[in-house]
């Protein structure tokens, strides 16, 4: 390439004339000039590293071009603001596609390396100049990597928070079955954190639905450790303080054993084998006549 020849010839001149301030413009000009080649090389490194595989080739090409241009712009202006906006925007688009943090950090670091290598090739004959060019380039490049990573992670955290809120709502439904009666079906593994959320939802559900009876059905909970069992007992007690009776259904022998182990007096808990029986008991407590008269309710 003619550019390279020219550089070799004039490298001494360049060195003589370039104070620190002029290094970056010189660098930027180089990166602009070889934009197409460097961008392609970067794209192929991204493919080799199996990064951003969730994106189509067209998207890749469009995004890598934008990132490249933004990158060079930051080097030129020293302001990361535009890059920040772009990075946030990009993150918003690619996060739903399942792009991971390490991929985003990875591609920016790849670009940093591709560009550094091209600078190295261009200036390798003049070690002093090369050193100064890299000194100017590296902090700026690291700052860019930092900015992109932080923007991506901020955005990702925001999305995760949103999703968590949504999941939380879904996974702990407090169902008002009929007037004054709530059912809380517990499905899946309970940990301390989820047990807490459940309790808070149940207690505030008691107030909003003016519930007098609560049926907690734990048929769908595979296991309950001591912490969660304790929590269950506290939930029952707290519900009582709010004036609601609690019926627990679907208590497996293992969970019953756990409760006994931590010193719970099961006779003080209203436990009933299955949900159907629990609902009948609830109706009895509420003072409604059991609707299905076929069942003889003697005793």
């Amino acid at each position: 390439m003619s550019q390279d020849d020219e550089t070799q010839e004039s490298s001494e001149q360049v060195e003589a004339s370039s104070s620190g301030d002029q290094l970056l413009p010189q660098l930027v000009a180089h990166l602009r000039e070889h934009r197409a080649k460097l961008r392609d090389e970067w794209a192929s490194r991204i493919r080799d590293a199996h990064l951003l595989e969730a994106m189509t080739p067209q998207e890749m090409s469009a995004e890598t071009t934008s990132v490249y241009d933004n990158y060079v712009e930051v080097l030129e202006t020293g302001s990361v603001e535009a890059l920040q906006h772009y990075a946030r925007d990009l993150s918003e688009r690619i996060i739903p596609r399942g792009v991971e943090t390490h991929e985003v950090v990875g591609i920016v670091l790849l670009l940093r390396d591709v560009l550094a290598r091209s600078l190295f090739e261009k200036y390798q004959r003049d070690f002093g100049l090369l050193n100064r060019i890299l000194d100017a380039y590296e902090p700026a490049a690291n700052r860019i990597a930092n900015t992109v990573a932080v923007s991506f992670v901020d955005e990702r955290e925001r999305v995760i928070r949103q999703q968590q809120d949504a999941i939380r709502e879904l996974s702990t439904p407090v169902l008002p079955v009929r007037e004054r009666l709530l059912i809380l079906p517990i499905i899946g593994v309970l940990d301390g954190e989820r047990a807490r959320q459940l309790t808070e939802q149940l207690l505030s559900g008691i107030r909003t639905h003016r519930a007098k009876v609560v049926v907690i059905d734990i048929t769908g909970a595979p296991e309950v450790d001591e912490t969660v069992a304790n929590h269950l007992v506290q939930t029952v007690d707290a519900s009582r303080l709010m004036g609601a009776s609690v019926i627990i259904t679907g208590l497996s022998p293992t969970i019953a054993q756990t409760l006994v182990t931590i010193g719970v007096d099961l006779s003080k808990m209203n436990t009933i084998g299955d949900l159907q029986g629990g609902l009948e008991e609830a109706e009895r407590l509420l003072g409604f006549t059991v609707t299905r008269k076929a069942v003889t309710d003697g005793s």
């Binding site: 992670v153 807490r196 912490t227 304790n230």
Partner: protein, 362 residues
């Protein structure tokens, strides 16, 4: 004197340091500086609390030097706080209104200190830290990338973070350590590496180097004192209500909600009542903390008669005055961390924390 620690925090078996043994020495140091100042005993207590908080992170031989450095820091902080306090204080509450302009300056200084600290890491350290810190899940894939194990990457990350803390504090101070010993010592403190602390003789260094003595506090203790802190003097029944309301307000500001707020307020109510009943007067300090996680830290301190047997006092149903039996054990159950130090004849200090991020607690 006896100390008791809640079991959720892994205690050091047999490693309980006899902090009481420090008291006479601390009294001498404080008296030498402030004389018969009425706050002298508070300063000693404050120092003890901080030493206790750092106890897990320092090797036993360093306890004494660290206590001395801490006492000096605590006294310096008191003088600094004094004039702002005399301006703001009205009766019991001191809600330390944050100065916005100042906050902005502080924030931008912190930002540039962080950038500077990041810059001082090696490229590799920075890459791994950025790629991980942030995503939280990448340890394994980082290990794959570098052909290493997840454990090794985690250890490397731990070292990097420790370095980052040190460099951050140095950048914030706009200073370079005066001796070659400083960085290794600071690093050993920051990483809570007791073996290294012994190797570099960190204790002796703290006594000789003012800069490191000063930095030892944020590296080992709670971090520098900030405006996010409320003091409520406790001497009568209404102060109990004032203390718990102050705690609630601060916690709302920190983003607490729901049952957490009520649990915190209830626990504060219990420890404040203990002061009124047992000691007649004392103080409750409520403080926002952001490390290792965001939370509310409560210190209830009195100079009353003390509790003879803290273990017994923490048992349900223990009662030393009519009807009480749930105050301390109850407060312990309401909070995530709980610690009590009592010295018969000199007073009791309860420290407790509620974390905002609940991961891993019940």
């Amino acid at each position: 004197m006896s100390t008791a620690r809640v079991p959720d925090e892994p205690a050091q078996p047999g490693g309980a340091v006899d902090v009481a043994a420090l008291i006479p020495m601390l009294r001498r140091i404080v008296a030498a500086r402030v004389g018969e100042h009425p706050a002298a005993e508070d300063l000693v207590q404050e120092t003890l609390v901080r030493v206790l908080e750092a106890e897990d992170r320092i090797e036993p031989g360093m306890i004494e030097p660290y206590a001395i450095a801490t006492a000096r820091n605590v006294m310096a902080t008191m003088w600094r706080r004094k004039d702002s306090e005399s301006r703001n204080r009205h009766r019991a509450l001191d809600p330390s209104v944050p100065d916005e302009a100042e906050d902005v300056v502080v924030a931008s200084e912190e930002q540039s200190a962080i950038n500077e600290a990041l810059r001082r890491l090696t490229d590799r350290e920075r890459e791994v830290l950025l790629a991980h810190e942030i995503s939280g899940q990448a340890t394994r894939s980082l290990a794959e990338d570098s052909g290493s194990t997840a454990g090794a990457v985690a250890a490397q990350l731990k070292r990097t973070r420790a370095r980052l803390r040190v460099e951050y504090l140095l950048a914030l101070e706009h200073t370079e350590p005066p001796t070659d010993e400083c960085r290794p010592v600071l690093l050993a403190l920051s990483s809570a590496d007791r073996r290294r602390q012994r190797e570099v003789d960190a204790g002796r260094h703290l006594l000789e180097c003012d800069l490191c003595a000063k930095l030892s506090q944020p590296l080992l203790g709670r971090g520098p004192l900030r405006d996010n802190e409320i003091h409520v003097a406790i001497s009568a029944d209404p102060d109990i209500v004032a203390a718990r309301q102050a705690a609630r307000e601060l916690a709302i500001r920190a983003g607490f909600s729901g049952a957490d707020l009520t649990m915190l307020a209830t626990a504060v109510s219990e420890v404040a009542r203990n002061i009124v009943r047992f000691a007649r007067s004392g103080e409750v300090t409520i403080e926002l903390v952001d490390g290792p996680r965001a939370g509310i830290h409560v210190v209830a301190r009195d100079t009353g008669p003390g509790i003879d047997d803290v273990e017994v006092a923490l048992k349900d149903g223990f009662s030393t005055y009519d009807g009480l039996g749930l105050g301390l054990p109850g407060a312990r159950r309401l909070m995530d961390e709980f610690n009590i130090v009592s010295e018969p004849g000199h007073g009791t200090t309860v420290t407790m924390t509620k974390w905002f991020d609940k991961k891993g607690t019940a």
